[in-house]
Amino acid sequence: MKKFLFLCVLVATALLWAAAVLSQDWTSLKEASRNIQSVKAEFLQKRYLQILTKPLLSEGRLFFHVSDSLRWEYLSPLRSVMLQKGSTIQVYNYSEGVWKPEMTQAIESRRMVLAEISQWFQGRFDESKSFKHLYSPGPPARVIMVPGEGINRFIHQIEIVLSVRPGVIDRVEIEESGGSRTSIEFRNVEINSSFSPEVFEKP
């Protein structure tokens, strides 16, 4: 009996230790994110639509700088790029060998999305004007973003899955009203690496 109790205590201690190491508390997450100046990453986006048997796959890359600059670029199946520098947003599509400005810019909705993404990369989940956040320490640690009135007509919730690497996002899951959803997996994430500021200016 004593042996069994000892084993139980040992297992429980091991589990608690593992959880303590793997999970990130809210304060350490904010602290780690505060040191992020730039992010460079590739991503795989899976778009699940109710009318499609298989998801629509898109691949791309992103560049983020803390000075309100973001480049969100799709390389396939459509080559397209959103450039944000301060309050300026430009959208281009690559067609017939040249970059063309997008006709239907839909700037306001894109501005909102880019603002949200920029806040996520800085761990500023609690500063969103459009979403309330819930933190789950995990592992893996997750932030659930619940939309406010208006946006909830289109988005049910956004789940941000955090990496064990402090300040790094592993995956974003967006659930839409109506059953469609999007999963974005980030790969080859580089924190605070250097790149030319031109990536935010030219397609």
Binding site: R47, I51, L52, L56, P77, S95, T182
Partner: protein, 218 residues
């Protein structure tokens, strides 16, 4: 003898005049051979399908837009579902076409007008569903080219012409006989869907849609 020669010339003159009055036979097709009729439907999928297209839309002013088009079809029920998405995956337009009419499930500006919904679903129908009735005339040329004609209920006219080797063309004419829409389809065909399509609309609005097939499932 002179009178006989004069009569001959007169008869010859009548003959020439009468030949001049015979209607041209080359422009009108006979209903066609029953075994050639399936060729009129060769460019349309026969069973349920779903597809993803890359769409390049160009308006007359020169503005262009790159979009993703997702379409699902049930040919036997003449049902089509169509979505337009931005490259990022935002749904701009989501509608369904049934026999009873068009149901728009989602439409974001500038794709939120009833005229746009009607026009888009007309285009999708022209691209993926054959006209409902049997062709009024059809013919298979010696080189394998099919020529099929349908008369619409509103006096519109649809012609499908082509072959798997040379590509296909769909012409939609209004009741005045003017071409209002033209579609060019090129193979290879994947699960009954053309790899490349180009739709040009001339009336009432002028625009061009270039479509490249990215995914197709039976």
């Amino acid at each position: 003898m002179i009178r006989k020669k004069g009569l001959d010339i007169c008869l010859l003159g009548f003959l020439i005049l009468s030949i001049g009055c015979v209607p041209k036979s080359g422009t009108t097709l006979s209903p066609g051979l029953p075994e050639d009729l399936p060729g009129c439907y060769a460019i349309f999928p026969t069973g349920p399908w779903e597809s993803v297209h890359r769409i390049e839309a160009t308006l007359r002013g020169g503005g262009s837009s790159s979009l993703l088009g997702v379409t699902k079809g049930e040919p036997l029920e003449r049902r089509l579902e169509s979505l337009l998405l931005t490259p990022e995956g935002f749904i701009l337009f989501d509608a369904e076409r049934r026999e009873s009419g068009i149901a728009v499930r989602k439409a974001m500006a500038p794709f939120d007008s009833p005229a746009f919904a009607r026009g888009l679903m007309e285009d999708v129908t022209l691209l993926f569903l054959p006209p409902q009735a049997k062709p009024t005339t059809w013919r298979k040329e010696t080189d394998g080219t099919m020529i099929c004609n349908w008369e619409g209920p509103d006096d519109s006219h649809t012609e499908i012409r082509g072959s798997m080797d040379s590509g296909w063309r769909i012409l939609r004419r209004d009741k005045q006989g003017e071409v209002i829409k033209e579609v060019v389809l090129n193979g290879p065909f994947v699960n009954g869907l053309a790899s490349r399509m180009e739709l040009r609309a001339f009336k009432p609005a002028s625009y061009r849609l270039r479509m490249i097939l990215l995914q197709a499932f039976p």
